[in-house]
């Protein structure tokens, strides 16, 4: 299972990459493996205000549907347009081409500060350890 060092994580299996005042959000390799083939992603529309820990969309796979939670506070600026035709990108490249949405972070001066409450790669790895079968 891949957990890139440079990203930040939530206990709900989202990852966050912060660049200036923009946070990119996706789901982790662990999550995509547990889901199986992703067939549909409903990400929050651009302009939507999202709050950390609140449901903001859903991820459908063959066997299940899961709520998507925003890992951060802010306003959605963009959703991944590729996922409409190819939701399987979430499986094949969860940390890259399978990103879900981007958020303009609230309460930041744009210096790349990481929003509070997120987990490091080591903390997320520890959280999911023993969860691999």
């Amino acid at each position: 299972m891949s957990v890139p060092e440079e990203l930040h994580y939530t206990a709900e299996h989202e990852w966050v990459a912060v660049s200036g005042a923009i946070a990119s959000v996706g789901i982790t390799d662990h999550a995509q493996r547990a889901l199986g083939d992703v067939v549909f992603v409903q990400a929050p529309a651009p302009g939507t205000r999202v709050s950390a820990g609140e449901a903001c969309g859903e991820v459908e796979s063959t066997k299940s549907v899961s709520d998507l939670f925003s890992p951060v506070d802010g306003e959605v600026t963009e959703i991944n347009p590729e996922l409409e035709d190819d939701p399987g990108l979430v499986n094949s490249d969860p940390y890259g081409a399978g990103w879900l949405f981007k958020v303009s972070l609230a309460g930041t001066d744009g210096d790349g500060d990481v929003p509070p409450g997120l987990l490091s790669a080591a903390e997320y790895t520890a959280l999911t350890a023993g969860d691999e079968s």
């Binding site: 299996h13 999550a31 199986g36 067939v39 459908e60 796979s61 549907v65 079968s133």
Partner: protein, 380 residues
């Protein structure tokens, strides 16, 4: 996101004779009916497509095998089940059901007649114990013995249009002569098996009942022989979408103790024409003639959101039924579902009714369309 991962399988879950093979293949395992089973090996969609276009290899060793033997084995099954098993020729199989006295379905079964006085009843894994109990009770006082042989069989299925080409060189059976729903002793990869032309995918295919110790070698031989034909191992996730596309019922979804075979559109399995009484006869006669309360229908979703088991069906926004099974269909490219809906809505929807039929998908009405079952029929 909400964690989609099921609870870790209990350490007590039963392992099939192929458990080490699945571990070696890196399968995602899941607990199903008390068994540790492969859910998928890689992409379940790719496994599904392989079965439709080439072939897939399944471990179904969790299925229950119950032997019914003795001079009155046939008569006992005529009494215990809805089917007319004494009319079955040795070497043939039949799809049938076992019902309670009130006509409710206890399980759907495939029964193989191995000899005049020997039958093998294959039950769903979750129902093996209740079916064993019911058969034992119904055999009481008759010259027939019911034995649980589940632990004595591994069950391997090869399903898909290339199945016969793959299996042919590995068996002494002449597959051209093995009809659909036939099953008889043969050798596969040198091991003695019961070889049957049955399945649950909507494709041609075979089911191989083998001794547990022989299962890994048979699996390996099929894997090697099948690789050039595009055969891949396939898990329970693909099995479920394959059977759904083929319009085949799943116990617990389309079938259950509150439903009769008639509810599921499978009244043909109830053989009122057979001699003698059978458990459920009177109730089924009544329920088979009464106006149906519900009708099993096929629905195609018109958005990407998937109708799932338990979701409500709406007609003009009002409750009209319940989804029994739903999944994204790899073959059709849209979500498909089976549902029990009221007969009047089924009629109205069949007569047209665009925009009136919908599924309540977590609070939002998503339009759906009535489509004939099965969703998929293999090319002739």
């Amino acid at each position: 996101m909400t964690d989609p991962r099921p609870a870790d399988p209990a350490a007590s879950a039963r392992r099939t004779p192929l458990a080490d093979v699945h571990a070696g293949l890196g399968a995602t395992l899941t607990e199903f009916a008390g068994w540790l089973m492969p859910l998928r090996y890689g992409s379940e969609t790719a496994e599904h497509r392989a079965v439709r276009s080439a072939a897939g290899l399944f471990d179904l060793s969790h299925m229950g095998e119950l032997a019914v033997t003795g001079p009155d084995a046939a008569g006992t099954l005529d009494y215990a089940l809805t089917g007319y098993l004494s009319s079955l020729k040795p070497g043939r199989a039949r799809y049938t059901m076992i019902c309670a006295a009130d006509g409710g379905v206890l399980d759907d079964l495939i029964v193989y007649r191995l000899a005049d006085t020997e039958f093998l009843v294959v039950a769903n894994a979750a129902n093996t114990a209740p079916v064993l109990a019911a058969l034992t009770e119904r055999a009481a006082g008759r010259a027939a013995e019911v034995t649980d042989r589940t632990a004595g069989y591994a069950l391997i299925a090869v399903q898909g249009p290339r199945s016969a080409e793959i299996l042919g060189p590995l068996t002494d059976a002449v597959l051209d002569e093995v009809k659909y729903y036939a099953g008889y002793p043969a050798a596969v990869a040198g091991a003695p098996v019961l070889l049957a032309r049955t399945g649950y995918t909507g494709e041609d295919g075979f089911e191989i009942f083998a001794r547990p110790d022989d299962a890994p070698a048979i699996w390996a031989a099929l894997t090697t022989a099948g690789a050039p034909h595009g055969l891949v191992p396939a898990g329970l996730a693909a099995r479920d979408t394959l059977r759904l596309e083929a319009g085949m019922p799943l116990y617990g979804n389309e079938l259950g103790p509150d439903l009769t075979p008639f509810d599921a559109g499978l009244g043909r399995v109830v053989r009122f024409d057979k001699p003698g009484d059978f458990v459920g006869r009177a109730a089924l006669q009544q329920r088979g003639q009464a106006a149906p309360q519900r009708q099993l229908v096929g629905l195609a979703g018109q958005s990407r959101r998937v109708p799932r088991h338990g979701y409500g069906v709406l007609w003009d926004g009002a409750p009209a039924g319940t989804i029994t099974s739903g999944a994204p269909s790899p073959t059709l490219g849209t979500p498909v579902a089976m549902a029990y809906i009221t007969p009047d809505v089924a009629q109205a929807a069949a007569d047209g009714g665009d925009g009136r039929l919908a599924v309540d998908i977590r609070g939002r009405a998503e339009p759906a369309r009535l489509v004939p079952l099965p969703f998929y029929r293999r090319p002739a």
